[in-house]
Symmetry: C2
Subunit: 510 residues, 2 copies
Amino acid sequence: MSEDKDRDLSRREFVQGTVSGLALGLAPAAVLAAASGKDADKTAVLAQIPKMHAENLKRLQEWIALPSIAAENRNFPQGPEYMAKLAQDAGFTGVKLIPTSGKPGVFGKIDAGARTTMAIYFMYDVKQFIPEEWSSPPLEARLVQKAGLGTVCMGRGAVNQKGPENSFLSALMAFKAAGKKLPVNLVLVCEGEEEIASPHFHEVIATPDVLAELKRCVGVFMPEAGQDRDGGVQVSLGAKGVVELELISSGEKWGRGPAHDVHSSLEAAVDSPTWHLVQALNTLVEKDGHTPAVEGFFDKAKPLTAAQEQMIKEHAAKTAEATVKQVLGVQHWVHDKNWVDSLMLLESRPTINIEGLVGGYTGPGGKTVLPHKAVAKIDMRLVPDMTAADTLDKLKAHLAKHGFADIEVNMSGGYDPTQTEPGSKLIQTQLATYRKLGLDPQLWPRSAGSWPGYVFTDAPLKLPAGHFGLGHGTGAHAPDEYYLIESSNPKVQGLDGAIASFVEYLYALG
Amino acid sequence: MSEDKDRDLSRREFVQGTVSGLALGLAPAAVLAAASGKDADKTAVLAQIPKMHAENLKRLQEWIALPSIAAENRNFPQGPEYMAKLAQDAGFTGVKLIPTSGKPGVFGKIDAGARTTMAIYFMYDVKQFIPEEWSSPPLEARLVQKAGLGTVCMGRGAVNQKGPENSFLSALMAFKAAGKKLPVNLVLVCEGEEEIASPHFHEVIATPDVLAELKRCVGVFMPEAGQDRDGGVQVSLGAKGVVELELISSGEKWGRGPAHDVHSSLEAAVDSPTWHLVQALNTLVEKDGHTPAVEGFFDKAKPLTAAQEQMIKEHAAKTAEATVKQVLGVQHWVHDKNWVDSLMLLESRPTINIEGLVGGYTGPGGKTVLPHKAVAKIDMRLVPDMTAADTLDKLKAHLAKHGFADIEVNMSGGYDPTQTEPGSKLIQTQLATYRKLGLDPQLWPRSAGSWPGYVFTDAPLKLPAGHFGLGHGTGAHAPDEYYLIESSNPKVQGLDGAIASFVEYLYALG
């Protein structure tokens, strides 16, 4: 589903070919410690990181071995209970499971007596996986050598999101080990349904004592492995919203066609719900086969600001289009747009995408049936100020208007877009921290993917929200997902450097 | 695939609700024997049938235990070798496997010194199956009680086509056991790829010595379980042709969109091969969502003759529309046609049907991908004088004309329509035999399904071709397929009655 690593994935695919001439020349934790220098407390905390390397890695591997998958009802309540134990071990107090209509959230806080309170968003669930597709068993979290990168930990959830989250917890444990107080107070909110589009996370947030604690925060961030393969980082100011749904055409609901699969010869005398679906789908896009044709779809879509366009132009100039095209296997952008304009579209355009088609016989070869049902799996991406509810209503109205009122629209998940001000303390501290660590972070208007930041950035909280963290990994939702442990490239941080980046960020926030 | 039981299936679904006042009052073999009476030889042969009941049933059960499935390359060469052994046991001589570019055919003959030579068409393969969907293990061929029917043998291939074929072989074994000569010479041609649309059966027929033997025949028939649940029988004069194919839209072939699945957020800037497929599909039917819109599709389609229309009207009058609708789960025929006109469509209209849609993510819930490929599984049914090759060409020309030349058209199987004259000896003898057995057979213009009869009815053989046999079964291609063994309804024949019907037919042909 749409979540941090989706965001990261789409972004990384566009920046993987970066030609920006960054020259960090950083070595992991030791250099970070030296670079941050003066503060004795911080030096003491950073000094713990290499000593705790083995236990930090082991904790990640053990967490990966327990996959919580809401779509499969896998490892509940073990998954949230394990999450709660991890939080307690890292020093969170008042840790508890927050019941929802779906899988429980997990809450905890650390009162360090600091002036500033920051919220942290975790997901403890992971995406489904098919072990046969992996080169290394996805729950064994083995260490694997990757040419040009170093040693990675390969397993489901390694980068999305257990690796970065474990690194953040490791940072807190370094404070504990050094006997130092945190420079900020923390509020932790975790969910277990991120991979099914966070259908109940708003219930966690709306829980009175959780809400009260969040209201004290200056912002919220999710730990991420924010470095691309060349070491570059972006600071994203938001994300598109998303609606995931199924369009289901069935003889039963239509009142035409068969109520169960019948022999295909009968199509001579019996309507086909599959043709009906094809016709309905065809109305959703213009003749160009791409532009959404749902009435009013773009009404609330805000155009990019001049500042946002500038960010895109800067990124385009630093990034090799040819490499991005090669990675994606794309020869032409839509409408044969140039590189800058393709990125403008990526950032500004709401979309209607077919994720999947499933109808009738789907196995090898053919089978002569007239299917009674056909399904299109759709995702719609939304930009500010579109909302999930309004867009869903417009889709339904469109279908009804065009004679497809019988087609079921089953929304399975989704949420509104999220946007955070570049001037917020959260973002400014991110930029400052990255720069202090020798990086040249690029601002980016929003992820074209999605994460449920709206629960923080919308009313009643209206908090700045983002992602932060050095380190590298990839393969979210795919086989052979990994998180970098020992980096062979000094520009890219491994486990210890990622942990150190969180220590730096916490001090900068404090 | 499209084969005898497809034909039967679609037909049976339309006649299952028959209200024709047939009153056979037949009991199984003994009565059939009495009814046929005079000929001492025949009486002696028929008398063997009840004695051989157990071994005839056992032979069927053992055959079902060995499923030959071309699509899965299952049980080759064991399947054709077993078929050859069955033929030898039934008295065929010169039995041999006929190699083809695919799975082998099986050939054999019986020279009884008779004036007439008849060809028999067998398929030794069966449809794929999913054991979990069955209430009885599909290869165990268990005996199961069915309310209103009696004892059935349940297993894959029970009715399509091993049951009827084994009954025909049992009839030949009854001649052997009685020490009587066959009244006709027989030529047996078997194929093992019927369920994948007989892509190489014409090679079997074209084998010089096979062709030479077939040229001596007055016609060809396939054994079937021809009785519906109420005992009624139809004599079908042909079948529609069929083309099965996949339409494949891919980024790779299109040169637009991604070459592999990418994150769905990229749809803002990247074309979607799935939308491309939806648009292509949409051009294949008229705005009514049903009528084929491929240019020239109907050009060669012959209208029904007055005689054919009369057959349909007679059938409609004898068959309860409401029951047929209930069985199919259909509330309205296409275009809201009445019962007679819906049957006219069934018989006269060529079709373009979507058997299946497969694109992107097809599992439970959603997955935010922009798929690089989407596939529609299509079958087209053809009426005389359309041909498979010409119709395929027209489809390809249509796609190219409408801007979809990149969409791959992969034909997986199919063949031309087949039609046999009602005045042929084959058909007249069928009608006479059924009537002699107390039934009132209905002539039917053609099956709306398909079987590869064209290899017999077209040049160079130009033989009449059809199906024959009493008995009952259903579930071809579906779970819980069965063939009736002990009938509790005197109007419907079980195993012994089905075998006896073949004895009667062979004498009538002789």
